[in-house]
Symmetry: C2
Subunit: 342 residues, 2 copies
């Protein structure tokens, strides 16, 4: 079964790890073999140049999580991480000292930067990095949404000047914990970007497309906004199912509620589904373009949302969606696939 996942960082990575476990469980050999062909299209809109190296937060979280090297409690970064370089770097007064570049994480950035500077595309550099984590051996192909640099910035009110100023998404997210009111997002390079090789094909040739519980605004919608992606997904023969990242009116983790507020969407499981929109001639468009979902899985606490969506023609159901561990997450993946008969 070919499955394509449009993923942000922590939530998407954990979901994909559970999905892979499910596919291994289902494999007829009964010994953890896999016939999975899972293409993960990662948001690369949080990427940035920092201290001269290219940092790709979501791609790295996916690699580390699927490669068994992630810092489990934190959800991102490497296990047994240290910050010897960062600590010394601070003595040079280079700024961004609130953003800790872990030593092991830095090795990834250096390898990527070397290859990008040698002329490889981000897709090619990602494929090389992924070799170490044996993603191919697990039936996974990891793709950035685009080979062009796209960087999400946040327009915030400038308290002093009375005007507006632009800060990098990571500064808003990590330094300000999204507490600085965001007026809007500006995604530098997004309108002129093109989908990375293989992305559109992964949307049309898949047996199922899954939107895992990633940030619907800055992760999922950023991928969808790469010109051609949203339209291709809306028209794909593959069924599309999403898992709500909002449970009981709040993000399970991260600051998706603040992102939703910025684009004027309520932080509810139902509102996020409508924000993304329902596909088909009898569907309803999303806020930013044609609808992309066929089905929506919400948490048990949001049974009402599922009922409201069903009353409106959606395929929707409720199940436990908190990803406590890999077996739990595999069951969530199974529930999502079941919604579209897969």
């Amino acid at each position: 079964m070919r499955i394509t996942v449009l993923s942000g960082g922590v939530g998407g990575a954990r979901f994909t790890r559970g999905l892979l476990a499910l596919l291994r469980d289902r494999h007829p050999d009964g010994h953890g073999g896999t016939t999975a062909e899972v293409t993960v299209v990662a948001n690369s809109g949080d990427d940035m140049w920092l201290h001269g190296v290219r940092v790709c937060p979501d791609l790295d979280t996916l690699m580390y999580t699927l490669g068994g090297a992630v810092h489990e409690e934190q959800g991102w970064g490497r296990r047994d991480e240290t910050s010897r370089v960062s600590a010394d770097l601070a003595a040079y007064d280079v700024g961004w000292d609130w953003f800790t570049l872990g030593d092991l994480d830095l090795a990834t950035h250096l390898a990527r930067t070397q290859w990008l500077r040698e002329g490889l595309t981000l897709t090619e550099a990602t494929e090389r990095l992924a070799r170490r984590w044996d993603l191919a051996g697990q039936g996974v192909r990891l793709l950035p949404m685009s080979d062009q640099p796209v960087e999400t910035h946040v327009v915030v009110a400038d308290a002093e000047g009375g005007g507006e100023r632009l800060i990098h998404f990571e500064e808003w997210w990590v330094r300000h914990r999204a507490a600085l009111p965001a007026l809007r997002f500006e995604q530098v390079g997004l309108a002129a970007s093109t989908p990375a090789p293989g992305v559109l094909d992964a949307l049309t040739s898949a047996d199922v497309v899954v939107l895992p519980p990633s940030n619907p605004v800055v992760s999922v919608s950023t991928i969808l906004a790469v010109p051609g992606v949203r339209e291709t997904l809306a028209a794909s023969p593959a069924p599309v199912v999403g898992v709500s990242p909002i449970v009981g009116g709040a993000a399970v983790r991260g600051m998706a509620a603040q992102c939703l507020a910025t684009v004027g969407v309520d932080a509810t499981a139902e509102a996020v589904a409508r924000y993304l929109g329902r596909r088909g001639p009898d569907g309803t468009p999303g806020l930013d373009g044609p609808g992309v979902l066929d089905a929506w899985l919400v948490d048990d606490v949001d049974t009402d949302a599922a009922a409201a969506l069903r009353a409106d023609g959606w395929r929707a159901s409720a199940a436990p969606t908190l990803m406590h561990d890999v077996p739990t997450t595999a069951r969530i993946a199974a529930a999502a696939l079941a919604l579209v008969g897969a």
Copy 2:
């Protein structure tokens, strides 16, 4: 007293540290004060891009040595260095695994790379890095020879192809320990480079110019080969004194003998002086252009060399020149300055 030093890495850095100690000793306050105005023009021809960051071996050795942070036994790199990033990077199979990028050293490269990518010149980035090491507080201004990238490559015989191939100087030096016969050096970018701001002025306005015991071929001559430097030094009103890096027919450290062999110069204290050439209308040109020296200090074991040079019209003398520690090195600096009456 304004002194300008044309320096490579380890030898030049240790000499300069001794020179600064001498100037503090001579200061009338008797408490380590300094009125030194020492400009160090560093070879930047060993610089390279490695894993996407800019590595400047000689500038860094100078900073760490003068800043009290150098790995004393090794002569380069940081004290208490570790290689956590390098070790992890090796798992990505990026090559250059024989070149260890220390974690603390990497912090320097990251800061520099950030500033270069922001559009600062190498001179400006070096000045910012030097703040941490309080070079200005010691009366030292550290300049790269040029703001343009210059990279020394080594042409070696290609055993398989029967032809030639080019490798970066650091590969020849660090990986092959200069044991691979070098046919010649090719310095990419050198002919088109210009002296960094302040370099020519430091040669003409100095009270003394010193060539410390640095590698005469790949360090000193590389600085001299930046268009304008050799001619300016040859015509400068400042006296120029050099200290031989060759003692008893061999390099004190490093592989200067192999470099001298490559340019057809004997590894003797006398031959190196003649390679650099003697200034003035009654002087003799060096191998690569007008002579740049007035005086030459050799080691006690090379008294014959000093005599031979004196017989030929040079100012030359012999003294202990092995830089065992800072006080010893201060005495070497004093002997060098005495040769030109400073």
